[in-house]
């Protein structure tokens, strides 16, 4: 770490004095992180299967269940020691096994950031075409150019580390809440009749399956907060200061904003507000929608790049690299995908969502089982940062077999219940979702192996 880097640019634990965000500060940052245009795509997916009332209920219930899992998994450890999601998982995965979580965090956040950047580029393209500024044949280049500009802007702001994130979030918070509320009002009041009669386009014919799929989409969408949340709640002084901000600031905005996408796809067959607001109110409304897309996606991308950079700090080769260079590891892949394969990535969002459920449901279950039940909320902060043979979290060769086998068991459970590519399912998916049984199986496997093998071997620092 260079002398000019501050504590919030390191992956090191924060001291009590540095964990100084109050509930409102944390609430604003988490809300700005959560409120992005992925909500419209999530709402669009739910709207394929359910009407407005059922879609709202299923999506909101699923989101809050997913947020509960993430909160229980990360918040207690992150706020106790001021560490991020990756460091909080070391006691479970081992002093080498944590690389699994680094990879998943990296892949997940890069994926979400690609989606946001491409959505942003598409919205600019859409609006400029509507206004007659560009022609359709130049749209692809506008998308790419805008995306690169946005990446550069994110880079410049985050040169200030977490401080830059918090300052920008204060401004974006009111903008996102205000325009988000207005858009919902415009859509619901002007299209109330159409919404009441609207039928989902891809309903399966089995209402229970459709309903459970709405819940599943909500759960997996919020499980994707696992990589993000630690980097921000670690600034809270204790778990109590992060509980409501996490559940209400990070959990609730997603289904509330997703209702806009759900209602838009049902009533107008398009979820991008910069497209449907032009239909409803002309170019002025389109400009307002675009401003919203910019504000919402910008805040979330900032948080994502910041969380990725903090997570990458745990990689020994990157532990001392300059902050500005570290951020390039998080931004360059986003820029590359947005430049070369934007449509391929954008059109496979459903598969990406399922990938999140496959991996993050087991991770959450493993952490909850280990920290809250098996360890009774006691870990060694020294062993989190000091590894090697003979240390508490070295296990066997740096890997904890309980965590690895629990991940594998969870992976196959999810695949058995729901095919992430085709969405073909097996019982009891249509009663229980895929993520919840996956979490239960992973948690049980972890507990059994820990009790039968790890603890008797004197590994893991269990008391």
């Amino acid at each position: 770490m260079s002398a000019t880097d501050s504590s919030d640019e390191s992956g090191w634990p924060l001291t009590r004095a540095e964990r100084d965000w109050n509930r409102w500060q944390l609430f604003a940052v988490l809300l700005v992180t959560a409120a992005a245009t992925w909500c419209y795509i999530i709402g669009e997916y739910v709207g394929y299967y359910l009407n407005l009332r059922m879609g709202f209920a299923a999506m909101t219930a699923g989101s809050m269940i997913g947020m509960l899992l993430v909160t229980l998994a990360v918040v207690p450890t992150a706020t106790r020691f001021g560490i991020d999601s990756i460091a909080s998982a070391r006691p479970q995965f081992g002093d080498r096994g944590w690389i699994i979580t680094v990879f998943l965090q990296y892949a997940s956040i890069i994926g979400w950031n690609c989606l946001l950047m491409i959505f942003f580029g598409k919205s600019v393209d859409q609006l400029l075409q509507t206004l007659g500024v560009i022609t359709p044949d130049t749209g692809a280049w506008v998308l790419r150019g805008v995306t690169i500009l946005a990446c550069v802007f994110v880079y410049v702001v985050l040169l200030r580390g977490g401080t830059g994130l918090e300052v920008v979030s204060k401004v974006l918070f009111f903008f996102i809440v205000g325009i988000g509320g207005w858009m919902t009002w415009v859509l619901v009041t002007r299209e109330a009749g159409v919404l009441a009669e609207a039928k989902p386009a891809y309903a399966s014919g089995n209402l229970r399956w459709d309903y459970v799929t709405g819940v599943e989409i909500g759960i997996v969408s919020l499980l994707s907060w696992w990589p993000y949340i630690g980097a921000m709640v670690r600034k809270a002084p204790n778990a109590g200061g992060a509980t409501l901000p996490a559940m209400l600031g990070m959990g609730l905005p997603v289904p509330i904003l997703s209702v806009v996408g759900l209602a838009a796809i049902l009533a107008l067959q398009v979820s991008d507000p910069s497209a449907w607001l032009v239909q409803l109110g002309g170019p002025t409304y389109g400009v307002i929608a675009l401003l919203f897309v910019i504000a919402a996606n910008f805040g979330t991308t900032l948080a994502g790049v910041y969380a990725t950079a903090i997570g990458l700090r745990q990689v020994p080769a990157l532990a001392t690299i300059h902050w500005g260079i570290l951020m390039l590891f998080a931004l360059v892949p986003v820029a590359a995908v947005s430049l070369f394969v934007p449509d391929l990535f954008f059109n496979n969002f459903g598969t990406f969502l399922a990938f999140i459920g496959v991996f993050f449901a087991p991770i959450c279950a493993i952490q909850i089982t280990d920290y809250l039940i098996l360890r009774r909320q006691r870990i060694s902060i020294r062993a989190v940062f000091v590894g090697g043979p003979g240390t508490d979290y070295h296990y066997w060769g740096g890997f904890n077999p309980a965590a690895v086998l629990a991940m594998i068991a969870g992976f196959f459970t999810y695949l058995y219940l729901l095919n992430p590519v085709t969405y073909a399912s097996r019982a009891p998916y249509d009663y229980l979702t895929a993520s919840l049984p996956t979490a239960v199986v992973a948690g049980v496997v972890y507990a059994l192996i820990t009790v039968l093998l790890v603890k008797p071997s004197g590994k893991g620092g269990y008391e």
């Binding site: 634990p13 299923a58 699923g62 947020m67 090697g388």
Partner: protein
């Protein structure tokens, strides 16, 4: 993993090993909120949506 810890990290760990420098875990009120917002609320919403 760090074979030899940087001095600042060592100081941070030393400080955080003392319980009074650690953040407290979930209190009773937090558990009630988690139960309401993550279990009871979603259950009621699902019943409402299914009607």
């Amino acid at each position: 993993m760090h074979d030899k810890l940087p001095l600042e990290l060592e100081q941070r760990i030393d400080a955080l090993e003392r319980a009074d420098n650690q953040g407290a875990g979930f209190g009773p009120a937090d558990w009630v909120w988690l139960l309401l917002l993550g279990v009871v609320g979603p259950g009621l919403l699902l019943l409402w949506g299914w009607q």
